[in-house]
Subunit: 118 residues, 2 copies
DNA sequence: TCCATATTTCCAATATGCTCGAATTATTCG
DNA sequence: CGAATAATTCGAGCATATTGGAAATATGGA
């Protein structure tokens, strides 16, 4: 990943509202959530939400599909993974102390990876 | 880590110049780098650099110590680790697909952790 | 076609962030 | 003390981001 793409993603997530949106979408999984439901869940105005969804989308962190009258947004896992990889490469090269403590989280992720209940 | 702290860190890193500074400091290790040397290395004005160091510092990503006339900046590994942990917890809970691919990076970090040459 | 729903786009006001020159503080050394 | 070096702070100008109201677009159903 290029530095510029990482900057775009980081600055997109560096906003309370957008981080909340993204977290919601990540937890929602591939099914995603309709814009209106996001607005209701997070209690934000639809137009503000639309603007923030646009920022996240341009950063490559989320994508969307239309479903009837609704537009469903969902997180782009590959992009998120690439961004985390970029940050980790960056620091593990010079400082394994940063990444090593993340092992526990990683192990849990690996264990759950196949789609188990966990 | 609270969401607000994460937002501060993410938005601090969501700036090309600051991301460059932070990457430099992470690679420099605990010894850190003097402000002046950072400015020369990245070719930025000292006052702009100072402003950006201040942002990173307030976000908790870096810290500093005085050494003679110079002020040495160094990355806060624990903070960086906490931020990555926050993001990974967030996504691994709902989406192990994101974190699982990071295993290779993690393994390398673990292998290097003791301070080997690698 | 007409209406209700879902979402986006447009626009203006406000706020925040960025950059750069100039001045200021802190430290070391002669 | 005075000069030189290192870094920060101040302040203005410019750019960008954020917000919210109002209007516009798209879809589905009566």
């Amino acid at each position: 990943m290029e530095s510029k793409a990482a900057v775009n993603m980081l600055s997109a997530l560096g906003h309370e509202g957008r981080l909340a949106i993204f977290r919601l979408l990540v937890k929602a999984g591939p099914d995603g959530i309709a814009a209106g439901e996001i607005a209701r869940t997070l209690d934000v105005l639809p137009n503000s939400l639309s603007a923030n969804l646009n920022v996240l989308s341009h950063a490559g962190l989320i994508a969307s599909r239309r479903e009837g009258r609704s537009i469903i947004y969902f997180a782009d896992y590959a992009a998120m993974s690439a961004m985390l990889g970029f940050l980790m490469e960056d620091c593990c090269n010079g400082a394994p102390e940063i990444c090593a403590p993340l092992g526990a989280i990683l192990d849990r992720a690996k264990a759950c990876a196949p789609g188990a209940v966990c």
